[in-house]
Symmetry: C2
Subunit: 305 residues, 2 copies
Amino acid sequence: MPDRNELALIDWIRQRAASVPGLQLGIGDDCAVWQPGGSPLLFTTDVLMEDVDFRVDETTPQLIGRKAMAVNLSDIAAMAGRPLAALVGVAIPRSRGFEFAKQLHEGMQSLADEFRVAIIGGDTNTWDGPLVISVTLIGEATERGPVRRSGAKAGDWLFVTGPLGGSILGHHLTFTPRVREALELHQLVDLHAMIDLSDGLAADLHHLLDESSVGATLFEETLPISEAAHRMTDNRSLLEHALSDGEDFELLFTVSPSDGTKLLSATGNATATRIGEIESPLGCRIRMADGSLRDLSRGGWEHSF
Amino acid sequence: MPDRNELALIDWIRQRAASVPGLQLGIGDDCAVWQPGGSPLLFTTDVLMEDVDFRVDETTPQLIGRKAMAVNLSDIAAMAGRPLAALVGVAIPRSRGFEFAKQLHEGMQSLADEFRVAIIGGDTNTWDGPLVISVTLIGEATERGPVRRSGAKAGDWLFVTGPLGGSILGHHLTFTPRVREALELHQLVDLHAMIDLSDGLAADLHHLLDESSVGATLFEETLPISEAAHRMTDNRSLLEHALSDGEDFELLFTVSPSDGTKLLSATGNATATRIGEIESPLGCRIRMADGSLRDLSRGGWEHSF
């Protein structure tokens, strides 16, 4: 049975929740009731765990809540969808108190508001364990359809929407999910395949290649490196950070060469940077600045040289 | 970045996942893509936490997974909906290993199969914390519409679908969610209001009364008491167990007197037992076997006599 604080928190969340067209019943009954429009719906869920995805003592509850919403928005962006509605499950350490729980929810709600996402349901719990947040996000595909990981074709140009590496220094909490950029790109060109970068460029590129049954070559010279990667003080190179650091939450996508040309002439490098090419031979390579080719594994590259 | 075990587990789950009409893309991309039929959709989410909702060492991973699916099915049942699809987020203690994670998922999948629910997405993680499972379940309303908590009217008869109390002895892990019963009832009579019993009869009845702005009197004599309540060895009475123990996962509902008569003549007590009456005066009372009336609080009754 929920305790007094849980009920107070649920009431507070219920008052703040925005609506979505077709919502017949939001928070407060056994289920939410929602009649979406006729488009195919997109569903994604992510679980964030204390000391894995964030450290409570090194950030604010608002930023933790924000991240829980943002990583799901990034998945909707990765299919060039429009986010619509969310369900939020939380297990909050009892010791953190009511204010902490409110601030956590405020972080989620503010990003939800920014992207016009209605929080239509949830499950709010306190316990003696660590903080866990689970968000399920529902979006809709545009009339151009959802962009899958599996549509890359040999000859496609490979693009990324922003600089990579060093996310651990703060970007993983403060990034803006590329929802708007994805919708703009989807209007402008025919996106063949797309994925958001959560596991790191090398790993996520492999996912995209696996699903598309193609290979790729990356161009070292054009890989955009984040300012944060320069501030990393371990002994790995900038390139290694760009290839292997996770949680960039930029979009990696492929388009035909003619659409690639169109994209660059329309927006320059403002929206996306060309970082490689899709090829028939399976596997993944990187063309270094000196012209040499190296094999690229999921974890970054093979340390065999 | 997911480790090898997580990826192996996701592959294994992906192979086992069933489909649902209109599913264009299941597990394996950034989002699931699903075009549901034209009915209003029902959404619910529940988070289950180790040592709060189950004890790992006192049960099996299958039963824990089963419960995570079952409590959500019970919420769909409470609106007389048809369950369709689920997303499953888990945070599994690393120490439990791969077999544990598979068995956990098998418990979820087998109940999903029984109720023809497709697992269309999820997020599978291992960590050093306790076990947490979050399930989001999507259903659809029937042509008669979803049954809310808010539709009870003065004069309605109050019914419950099964015996109450003592769930902690095992029922909370093994109960069958009343999805089929709810659909049958919804066909037979006009269900005015319904809720599933998770917090305990007294607490959940108060939720229903609050949302409907009515009151009620329960009849002590007809309250069905579970066999498990008889086996409880604390010093509380059978009645207290029936009123206060949580997680019965039976349905509590109200219908007009004429529909109540129709229901009893059609099914006897096989489907549901009449346990009280809805009244205009707010608040909740219980008519004891000796004819006396007592006030009933959310927690059970007022210990003021």
